[in-house]
């Protein structure tokens, strides 16, 4: 793996993780402070989007989706998934800092496992399928149609 690819992958991975963590946090904050249950009508769902926290959260989640798609344009799915899961750890830490949630021993254990998994997968090659092979497979599939 070239240093350039590694740097590009690291930088985009950071954007994917931050957009996801902050987006989920904003949405969760907005929904928690509404006080009523969702699910009674379509109008209810639409009204939720008037909340600025929910709107901000949705925009961040759109950024998350687009940056993740870009990352998947060169990186394996089985690489991207575990590596970006470090976001769960950040979500738990944000819950502790901003929402005053307690982090139990079990949660700390979970945090350690996720970090170990992320580090393990982060040390593997970013891409294990060859671009040319994939292109050839798509070309063959299109010809046969």
């Amino acid at each position: 793996m070239t240093p350039h690819l590694r740097l590009k992958t690291r930088a985009l991975t950071a954007i994917v993780i931050l957009a996801n963590v902050l987006g989920n946090f904003a949405m969760s904050w907005g929904l928690k402070h509404r006080g009523t249950l969702l699910g009674s009508s379509v109008l209810e769902y639409l009204r939720v989007f008037l909340n600025p926290w929910v709107t901000g959260g949705v925009l961040l989640l759109i950024l998350w989706m687009l940056s993740r798609m870009t990352l998947l344009s060169w990186a394996d799915l089985s690489y991207v998934l575990p590596v970006t899961s470090i976001g769960y750890v950040l979500t738990a830490l944000m819950g502790r800092v901003f929402l005053g949630e307690q982090i139990s021993a079990g949660r700390w254990a979970g945090t350690v496992l996720i970090m170990a998994g992320t580090a393990l997968v982060g040390s593997t090659a970013v891409r294990t399928t060859k671009a040319q092979e994939t292109e050839a497979a798509f070309a063959a599939a299109e010809e046969s149609q």
């Binding site: 699910g39 798609m69 089985s78 769960y88 139990s104 979970g110 294990t128 994939t134």
Partner: protein, 120 residues
């Protein structure tokens, strides 16, 4: 109701990720990050059927998750969907033909267990 929603979320997420990976492979690597080039890539992706169906599946997963969050805790909703890590790694190996080495299996397993533990 809770677990039915979890099944919908996991199923839709797995489908969305697989289709997204196929769609992006079909599109090819994005390496030009200037706004005009990103705009062209976005226009091409908006006509890519893998990506279109993937986004629809993500929407299904998103609204199911929103519904689940409205009556269940985040600390139930997040870990309950942890199964998708292992399922997606299996699909990545056998369907997407990625080389899932022992490090990746172990990593996906550790992450899934870790996410489940976060509920405690």
């Amino acid at each position: 109701m809770k677990w039915a929603l979890v099944a919908v979320i996991v199923g839709a997420t797995v489908l969305a990720d697989v289709l997204q990976t196929l769609g992006m492979r079909h599109h090819g690597e994005i390496h030009d990050f200037r706004p005009s080039a990103l705009g062209r890539a976005a226009a091409a992706l908006a006509r890519n059927w893998y990506v279109i169906v993937a986004v629809a599946m993500m929407a299904v997963s998103f609204f199911a998750f929103l519904t689940l969050l409205s009556f269940a805790d985040l600390s139930f909703a997040v870990p309950a969907t942890a199964a998708s890590f292992v399922i997606e790694t299996v699909v990545a190996k056998y369907f997407l033909r990625e080389q899932v080495t022992w490090k990746r299996w172990a990593g996906a397993g550790l992450v899934a267990c870790g996410v489940a533990l976060l509920a405690l």
